[in-house]
């Protein structure tokens, strides 16, 4: 029998996903690639992020070819070029909308004069949450690495998502 307490416990359980990548670049350039709308759109499938990048500021992500925002959230912490924290609520379908807010933390650590480790922690996700919420990170980070190391764009299924 499922009691109300069980249901509550289940909805309260969260999970955390961790994504890590090494990129040959400086923390400053990496920070710029994450917070500059133009650069960011190149490896986030053409989406455009709008925010003031200050704690408490609203975040809205859209795409020129879709109606309305794809996600929304709030900036929680800004510590350039080291740490950026924001909340995110996906809006691209009713399914993901129902998942509510999760949290995304970007951590940049210089590991040599010309290399950084970038860690993206996506947490406060519901246990068993829709994997559309976090499944795109490997593609995004791979594209970010390619952009910073070669200046080129990486063609991925994601980058073609809104093209046709």
């Amino acid at each position: 029998m499922t009691t109300a307490a069980d249901t509550e416990r289940r909805t309260e359980r969260t999970m955390e996903k961790v994504f890590e990548i090494y990129i040959r670049t400086t923390p400053e350039r990496l920070w710029e690639a994450i917070t500059d709308t133009e650069m960011r759109s190149k490896y986030t499938f053409g989406t455009r992020i709008h925010t003031e990048w200050t704690p408490g500021a609203r975040v809205e992500v859209g795409h020129p070819r879709t109606d309305g925002p794809l996600s929304e959230g709030e900036i929680l912490e800004v510590d350039p070029p080291r740490r950026l924290v924001q909340t995110m609520r996906a809006l691209w379908s009713d399914d993901v909308k129902a998942e509510g807010f999760s949290r995304i933390t970007w951590e940049i650590q210089a590991i040599s004069v010309d290399s950084c480790r970038l860690t993206v922690i996506h947490d406060q996700l519901r246990e068993g949450a829709n994997d559309e919420l976090y499944g795109g990170w490997p593609m995004i980070l791979s594209g970010l690495k390619t952009l910073l190391e070669t200046g080129e764009l990486l063609t991925t299924p994601g980058s073609l998502m809104y093209d046709s």
Partner: protein, 111 residues
């Protein structure tokens, strides 16, 4: 670029072992596990599991984070994506374009 080749080598070597693939599958099902939890599902000594986890960490396929006094292990799928973008995409694309070329050639030949 030799550095990149070393990274790929480590990923391929880490994946070339059934125990390590089993550990990755366990983490895929549920992330953020302690060594004790992972060890309980394998017929292997704690030391053996630690050794495998170290290889996975060295390849970047497993990332650890401290949570209080516990060390939690997370699956990091990014290196697999990098290999995919570097290798798999290239060859599947070529195969598709080879088929397209063949089709064009056959159709033109029959015309």
């Amino acid at each position: 670029m030799p550095a990149m080749k070393d990274d790929d080598d480590r990923v391929f070597k880490a994946l070339a072992d059934p125990t390590r693939r089993f550990l990755l599958d366990r983490l895929f099902r549920r992330d953020g596990r302690t060594l004790t939890e992972l060890e309980s599902e394998l017929e292997m000594t704690r030391f053996g599991v630690m050794k495998h986890l170290r290889v996975l960490e060295g390849a970047g396929l497993v990332v650890t984070r401290k949570s209080g006094r516990e060390k939690l292990h997370f699956l990091n799928p990014v290196p697999i994506r990098l290999i995919h973008d570097r290798w798999i995409d290239k060859y599947t694309e070529r195969r598709v374009s080879a088929l397209v070329d063949l089709k064009t050639e056959l159709e033109e030949g029959s015309a």
